[in-house]
Symmetry: C2
Subunit: 493 residues, 2 copies
């Protein structure tokens, strides 16, 4: 592969590339010194690291196109990057790529309230959209925990979700059109009209983790704020009780906007971190349940959910008194990953999905994995749609514990797929779960996916070697991380 050669890029070649990038973008838009590149060694998954050869900051579609065209013609691989909050290493170099950062393309280009659409550049921050339209009574539904930092371009790349996916769907359900710079610099528009005929390329691009093109403008659906909204928190003495309550709420025909669960360790973490919510000491499980829609129906639904919880031995239930309290509860929940830093030197977050009916069984399996490995596992998850986030707590200073944590992460995914589930709900495959793809796909199915990739990324120059394992027939089942510094850990703490 050409890319292998490029990992040993010559100093003279690098100098030529940097000169060209500066010529195209200006000298304030190119980083190339090692000390400036360190920040770009990894994204939100800090366990894997690799050095880019440069980072460039285009300000327009034309600039992205020009940069991509030159890099492609000069056989230099490249990686699009948003805010770098991704959790599977999608924007982490394997070594030797140019990172194309989209953070300067952060404009809100167009708002159309009549047709419920907004057009944004890829570097536009997720939460900024809701903030920009809330005074007109609108919002943007996908709400990953990182929404105050992550970009909508990154959300498209990862097909990001969030707490409210249960009712409102993930990013792909809210994307109406894309402007895309292809591997060779060509710019195409996909979608952007209602019900585009032909093959669903918009669906194909969404969630393709930067391997099929660089999104330079995104048309998204905006929603009218629901007329009413209520949020309740319910505490249980066992995770099983909480799990059965979730199943029965859905079975009762209630469609909550969100049902989140945190277990005992997760609760300890969030209570000791930056935004405590006053969870009762010693709680074994909490559900955060939200209902929204027509005001008239809200109270009845909350009442129904409460009575389901009562049948499952709930110990305490409270309903948010106002928007401020609701906001505080959600802020508390959304700090859960980072909050692990308060109770563990390092942690690794996983992202498995299971059929909702097998929640308590899979949680029991994860508890067994924890007991066997000796590593604590906190569970924070979108319970309503079966999207688990096991948080594996470890201490990288202990010899071998990082590798153990990675292994335990894979074991939790195996537990999910064994129950008919999947290896990622919203964080993507990236570097981290490439090999775990074999839990879901046969070799031939992976080939089929790579055939599709070859249409848009013929030389594997666009975010090379991400998202899929190397085909086994190449005799390379496990692939080392490119920088030669795999498994170097920083973590949070």
């Amino acid at each position: 592969m050409r890319w292998k050669r490029r990992r040993q890029i010559l100093m003279t070649e690098k100098a030529e590339m940097v000169k060209e990038m500066i010529r195209q973008l200006g000298d304030d838009a190119v980083l190339y010194r090692d000390e400036d590149l360190l920040t770009y060694e990894c994204d939100g998954l800090t366990v894997y690291r690799g050095m880019p050869i440069a980072v460039v900051f285009p300000s327009s579609t034309a600039e992205v196109s020009g940069v991509v065209k030159w890099l492609y013609e000069n056989d230099i691989p490249f990686i699009p990057r948003g805010a770098g909050t991704g959790l599977s290493g999608g924007a982490t170099p394997l070594g030797g790529e140019v990172i194309i950062s989209l953070v300067r393309m952060k404009k809100l280009l167009h708002l159309d309230y009549d047709n419920r659409e907004a057009v944004v550049q890829p570097g536009y921050i997720n939460l900024a959209l809701t903030n920009s339209i809330t005074n007109k009574g609108f919002y943007y539904a996908p709400d990953p925990s990182s929404q105050s930092n992550c970009t909508i371009g990154g959300n498209v790349a990862e097909n990001a979700g969030g707490a409210h996916c249960l009712k409102y769907g993930v990013t792909t359900n809210h994307v109406l059109g894309l402007e895309v710079v292809l591997h060779n610099g060509e710019v195409i528009d996909i979608g952007g009209v209602p019900d585009t005929p032909g093959y669903d390329l918009m669906g194909l691009l969404t969630g393709s983790e930067g391997t099929l093109g660089i999104v330079t403008a995104i048309t998204v659906r905006i929603l009218k704020n629901p007329e009413g909204k209520e949020t309740a928190m319910a505490y249980f003495d066992t995770v099983e009780d909480a799990s059965y309550a979730v199943s029965d709420i859905i079975a009762a025909g209630i469609v909550p906007a969100a049902i989140e669960m945190m277990d005992e360790i997760a609760i300890q973490g969030v209570e000791r971190a930056t935004k405590p919510a006053g969870h009762p000491e010693g709680s074994k499980a909490v559900l955060i349940m939200e209902v929204d829609g027509i005001a008239a129906g809200i109270e009845e639904q909350i009442k129904d959910m409460v009575s389901v919880c009562e049948r499952h031995n709930v110990t305490e239930i409270k309903v948010a008194k106002n928007d401020r309290e609701r906001g505080r509860w959600w802020a508390n929940r959304k700090t859960a990953f980072g909050a692990m830093g308060a109770i563990s030197p390092d942690y690794l977050v996983q992202d498995g999905v299971i059929p909702r009916s097998r929640l308590s069984e899979v949680l029991a399996n994860i508890a067994d994995i924890s007991a066997e490995s000796g590593l604590r596992i906190a569970n924070v998850f979108h319970a309503g749609d079966g999207n688990l986030h096991p948080l594996i707590l470890f201490d990288a200073r202990n010899e071998g514990e990082t590798d153990l944590a990675l292994k335990v992460g894979s074991q939790t995914l195996e537990a999910c797929t064994a129950a008919g589930g999947s290896i990622t709900g919203e964080h993507g495959v990236g570097i981290e779960k490439k090999e775990d793809m074999r839990l879901v796909f046969t070799e031939r199915e992976i080939d089929r996916q790579l055939n599709v990739r070859s249409v848009f990324n013929p030389n594997n120059m666009l975010n090379p070697d991400k998202q899929f394992p190397k085909p086994a027939r190449c005799g390379e089942v496990k692939q080392a991380v490119g920088s030669g510094e795999a498994h170097q850990v920083v973590g949070q703490g």
Copy 2:
């Protein structure tokens, strides 16, 4: 192209093929005599016709796989077909193909109420699914007008919609997994687990009109019946008033399950056909509005919709007294296409999509097209999501009137795309709208789509030459229909 050769298939080759098909499937599963093939000359779009060389009826995935493998290896093109109710000629031979009918694969394979899933074979009838699960309080949401005849396999091929798409989305939003026989007979599974990682091949296959594979099992989402439901009909003196009422209902933040509109000519048709609903004589426009969900919120929403209608000069509003009346109203609406037979010897139905905010402007343009051409156009449409169905009324016995009707159909699509819309909401491209694809896509974008096709359909043997125009560089901009009997008309009436 190999296929061209096949159109002049030799009698000896045909005899060999028929013998092999009978060997594989049994002699009650193969039609090959001209008189038996006539029924398969077209689907629901009767304007275009072409003769298949045989029709085969496999009963299992293994049989589909065996047939496809043999046909592929022997260079004989093939077309999957469901109930043949499609409206864009997707299952119509261009001449010389073998039709693979899936009607004998009509089993409901699996029901999982806990996880809200059903698995069906492709020949399973759409409405049969709802009928099978209604006693448990569940239903299947996509509801095309042909739902009592059309198959779920066909729905997947066309990404079919229906009156309730407005709230519930089209078929692609309800498909969770597919078993697919590929062009060479290989069988693969796509999706089937929650949140499948990798590229969204399920989205790619859905709506691919039989050009990427033959779906042999489909996992669909089933929904819990809404607790409450109300349906209202509102009459107006002008189509403009009705259009503005629709816009304002959506703007008010109400999310109706459906808002359908019929204009004066359509109303005359349905009242003279098989299921009259008692629409007042001389009504210029009727809206059928349905709200469903939590019982407590329903009445308020109906009240809000009524008050919007009142602001737009509604002349009469009635609310369905019970399920029977509601059922009668929907049956009336769903006969609208066929009902044109009561007021015109022939008709052609179109399927344009526009941004909702431009409804009244585009309807005015369509009225102009009607006046200029001298052909009456009835309008029946899913108003809430801007999906128009202009019904072009004509008499095929008049010299040249069929060609005129086809031209007028294209003109209505031009009016839609000029307003930022698209050429199909739910009927697909098929044969009919191949050239109209150029209204939406550039040549390079079409190339890109054909590149994707080539991954799954490398020799264009699977439903050949459908859905996309011939690339212009081949010097063949307009392609004649294969049978040599293009534009032969039968129509309805």
